[in-house]
């Protein structure tokens, strides 16, 4: 296996696991808050689930970018493309936006969602407002994903 291919695979791995860490921490924070609220009022499970799940999207974006790299390299079957070292590096760097924007925004979205969950505990009718607040943070993960997709699209193998 060539160094170029290895670097490209490293990029895919970074996108998946760094963004995944962000989501894992984020959902961890929101999930703890949700469990705390449910210890008082278990009937809130239904309305808390979307808030606790919202920081999960970063991990999905990372996974998606990793998958696009896998598709691009033909690793799912058929002819495996052997990129040059430079192309491999290009792919790896293209994965950075989604990885790091996902990491940080996932954690912070988790915090925003956790406070949102406390808000829902007191104002059960206002469940959409904290969702929108969470979406404000997610914007930057979305932009990271967008940059990664466009960069990957631009790299010619």
């Amino acid at each position: 296996m060539s160094l170029g291919l290895t670097l490209a695979i490293l990029g895919a791995a970074l996108a998946v696991f760094i963004a995944g860490i962000g989501s894992a921490i984020g959902i961890g924070l929101a999930g703890q808050a949700a469990s705390g609220v449910m210890s008082e009022d278990p009937s809130k499970f239904g309305i808390l689930i979307p808030l606790a799940a919202l920081p999960g999207t970063q991990g999905i974006y990372g996974f998606l970018s990793g998958f696009l790299v896998i598709l691009k390299l033909g690793l799912l079957g058929g002819q495996i493309i052997q990129p040059t070292v430079q192309q491999g590096l290009q792919i790896m760097f293209a994965c950075f936006p989604v990885a790091f924007a996902g990491l940080v925004s996932g954690i912070h979205q988790g915090k925003v969602c956790a406070s949102g969950i406390y808000m829902v505990a007191k104002q059960p009718k206002d469940m959409t407002k904290p969702l929108v607040m969470g979406a404000l943070v997610e914007t930057y993960a979305v932009l990271g994903l967008l940059a990664t997709v466009l960069l990957l699209n631009g790299i010619k193998l």
């Binding site: 979307p50 799940a53 919202l54 999960g56 999207t57 999905i60 974006y61 996974f63 998606l64 998958f67 696009l68 799912l76 959409t128 407002k129 969702l131 929108v132 969470g134 979406a135 404000l136 997610e138 914007t139 979305v142 932009l143 994903l145 967008l146 997709v149 466009l150 699209n153």
Partner: protein
Amino acid sequence: MAIAAVKRMEVLLPRTELEGFVSYLQELGIAQLDPLPYEELELASSPLELTEYERWLGRINHVIQNLPETEPKKGLEKLLAPKPKYSASLRKVLLDYGYQKVVEDYEALEAKRAQLWQNIKQIEKEEEFLKPLLALDAPLGHLTGFDRCQLKMAEVKREDLENIKEQLTEQPAAVSVISAEKNLAYILVIYHQSLKEEIEAIFSGFKFTYISLESYFSRLKGDEKVSDLLAQLEQQKSRAREEINELEKQMTSFAVHRSPLMAVYDVLLNEKQKLAAASLAGLTEKTAWLAGWVPASEADYLAERVSRFSQDIYLNLREPKPEERDDIPVILDNPEVIKPFEVVTTLYGLPRPGGIDPTIYLAPFFFVFVGLCLSEGGYGLVMALLSLFYLKKAQPKGGTRLFMTLLFYLGLSNMIFGTLFGGWFGFPIKPLVLIDPIKNPIPYLILSLALGFIQVMLSTFLSLVKEFRRGNKVTAIAVKGGWLLLLPSLLFYFLLKQPPLLGILALVGAAGIVFFSSPSRNIFARFFNGLYALYGITSYFSDTLSYSRLLALGLSTGVIAMVVNSLVQIAWGFPFIGWLVAILIFAGGHLFNLAIGLLGGFVHSMRLQFVEFFGRFYEAGGKPFKPVKLENKYIEFIK
């Protein structure tokens, strides 16, 4: 106008008719009552009855929650079951049901049961106490009534046992071990009473507790041993258990009262609301005065109904005065097709009275955006069918109905945009696909940004309308109009090889912004403030770019759907159970993707409305219209 007109309602009526009239208003459900703005009038005191009602509501609810259903329904059936219906005008008949007696009887049974449980706990404690002494195989009567001897029983630590025995045997005393457990031992000591101090001195060297059976001695009938006592306790316990069973059977037989109680609960709830509403009236010795609001469209109907209800009621419906403007409740009034999108507007907050209702403007964008974010025809079909099914089966009312209809629309939107830009469950219908965002993201990005630009322009136009209506005609035309001229001209200037005409138009627009943004009379201040206002172009730029999320979100659902399908393909190859695993992955994977994708698509489309679209023109802060009406928790009132 998409905000419905309302009329101020003023009612003057004999004090004796107040409650009856408010009750009638509840039935009509079209008028909101406000507290009277005249402080000099005596306000109807909030009666003690109100707390009385609340107490009964709490008690009835407790009984309802604890009673089993007569025909238990499971999961979906329960969710879809419509509420039982009762006639609104005959509702007070339900109060003759004798609910007080039912509730009191049930509570009495509950109290009895609680007492029995208490008894059982007490018995169990006693058993715990007696059990270690079970080996004491002598009638308890023999352990008491000595002349010169003393008999003591004690619980000591197991490790001290040998030590104590040794020290005691040095005295003229008899020691026997009743039982020994892992940590504790129970001993019996008999000694002559003259040795009292010595024995106590020995004991005080160790950790111990005396065991006294004193309370049992008085109750002895004959030669009972500890084992007999335990048997008696066991008997008492099982008797109490039987009684509890009996009580619970009786309590279950109350289940027939469950649905009547549910109806009574709702009637009482409305009686309470009626009292609360009537307490808003201003009172003189003989008359009562009510004030509130009615939608203009219902005004004639109300007048007609009131005149038929009683001849003694004076009803005045008029246009609101300017000083009442802030109190006018806001009712959104949109065509039936647009109505479900009011959900989005209401979430942000109702417009101020006299403001712009944004529903009709955001509706098409919201419809398209959710479609683009999810872009999955199959998921759309699932959403549309599920929401349609719920609407038909459960017949929800009010907010739930609007929300479900909105979901149905969003399902349709996905069927359209999923076909054009995505696929059905991850499989694109190739001849119908306009742009495949995975292979060709740039055109999709341009489409997203173009839609964004259009919505940003629309929001600028609406801000022009708002300024114009406020009377700031110069600002409206020169500044807001300037932006409307500048931005499109600039865009097409660069897109279309820089034709000079567009350049000039852009400059005209920019000039409007520079010279009319600041109200200052100082020409320099005006010019430089104007230049700074022109810098606001960055906000238009970033708002438009924000719509690029449509591409990213649209991609993500499509790619995950593809991933699910390739997993299905792999699973299909497993020997024997491959098909089963494949079906499970297909169903679970797509369901997960639908849930996550819909959450993202819905929330982000909403954010685009709230942040990028509303920011320029929309002012929330209207009060919702809250008519006095028949409220319901368990049943539904029909006319």
